[in-house]
Symmetry: C2
Subunit: 246 residues, 2 copies
DNA sequence: CGTATCTTTGACGCAGTTCAAGGAAGGTGG
DNA sequence: CCACCTTCCTTGAACTGCGTCAAAGATACG
């Protein structure tokens, strides 16, 4: 399991390095993080809405999602978390979250104490800044999702999601943008795009005619540019420029 | 104009104090911030999507909105900013934003240099943490908007927005939650709730029967609890608990 | 090999869009 | 203070994307 730990933390560090310059000491500090490993089966909740948490969850493998729960039990997913994502990094400065966290597929996570993360941020201010940056990227992605839900029709909404996941999988070195695993059901994708399972299914059929297939939890895209066109996808919101230390 | 400056910064400090404990030195440091004052007329863009910015905008009066621009020119608003809000606090760690900022009504803002804010955050780590917290609250609100757009019908979406704005106006001491100014047109509210002007108008008519009126840029709510019920509104996402300094 | 979960399809209804046009409010210049 | 013009609000009628309900296949799993 130790190997798994290191692998996950390595992915997290790589994610930070996408947007922040960190020196060797800072990298080492991240790599020295320790946590408790847990395996969650598909469809289980990791964090219940409103729960007070004292750890952050680093995804080691699988796929997790943050969600908002409605009165009638319906759920709206507002973020996907893939391996290397530190979800609930938000809860380092604010310990009670309004949202919940669920495992979409079987998912192994590393629970890392807030105290440790806070200690790191305090000891290495530039590292703290990179954490802040990470939560801001998360916000930027959400702001795109707001636009997606508010102003696009269902094929375009799905197309946009598939573009985003493709980019993120490629950046994390977990697949190619035109061919990657997406460990979710159509129902879960429907929860993320604000539609019903039935309509998700029909819209996927439409996209299939554009060379986009989602079969057996794998996405394959014949013509990337065409999908980008359908989705009106502009990756700038993923904030992939490096920011120098201040 | 100096009086206006102080008033705005005072509001910003109050906003921080809602969630963070700051000592006297830290409060004074915030109050000593200086900026360039500007007045933007209604419908003008303050920041264009993709623009590189070196200042944050503190709203002094009026109402501003962050938006995502679609290919066809349509806009989706993903956040409202009222007086005391420091928009683009995000751009302190990341200077290029994918979103834009527009003035909904005539709005006066205070442009504050990133360098100054960064200096503050570096000098007073606890203050830096309160800035981080502020951007996290912004994210929490957006995550609610995602749920709102994805899973609620139009009267409920509007109701939720009116509840949120009521709470925020009251917290900023700019009105009562059941009676407050909302300096936006129906078209702008439609941009925020992902619908057309026509449907916004019709849905407002439905809400009027529930004692909710939006006339001449003022919201009045006869029965707050009923509106909360319609909206399925739970204010926990506004994160109003105080967080002790670390 | 059996059972639960997930996908796919059909028929029908409705919430919300589109197009079009009239009316009210508000701001500006004479 | 009125005349004018622009922006905003309001309503009607027709259309459509998506939801709902229902049921039959396909897939995965123990």
């Amino acid at each position: 399991m130790e190997a798994n730990h290191h692998e996950a933390i390595r992915l997290f560090l790589n994610r930070l390095l996408l947007r922040s310059e960190l020196d060797e000491r800072e990298c080492d500090a991240v790599l020295s993080l320790r946590g408790r490993s847990e395996v969650i089966e598909a469809h289980r909740d990791i964090v219940v809405p409103g729960q007070k948490v004292t750890t952050s969850c680093l995804i080691a493998s699988g796929l997790a999602a943050r969600f908002d729960q409605m009165r009638d039990g319906g759920r709206q997913i507002d973020a996907f978390h893939l391996p290397g994502d530190m979800c609930d990094l938000h809860s380092v400065p604010i310990s009670t979250s309004a949202w919940g966290l669920q495992a979409l597929s079987a998912t192994s996570i590393l629970m890392i104490a807030h105290a440790d993360l806070r200690h790191l941020a305090a000891t290495y201010p530039n590292l703290g800044l990179s954490f802040w940056r990470d939560t801001i990227v998360d916000g930027s992605v959400m702001s795109k999702w707001v636009g997606n839900l508010g102003r696009r029709d269902s094929p375009a909404r799905i197309a946009h999601l598939l573009c985003e996941m493709g980019m993120r999988m490629e950046l994390a070195d977990l697949g190619k943008r035109t061919d990657y695993p997406l460990l979710a059901t159509q129902g879960q994708l429907a929860d993320a795009t604000g539609m019903t399972v039935v309509h998700m299914n029909r819209s996927l059929k439409v996209l299939r005619e554009a060379g986009v297939s989602f079969v057996r939890k794998r996405v394959t895209i014949a013509d990337w540019n065409q999908l980008v066109e359908i989705a009106d996808f502009d990756p700038r919101y993923l904030m992939l420029e490096k920011n120098a230390p201040k």
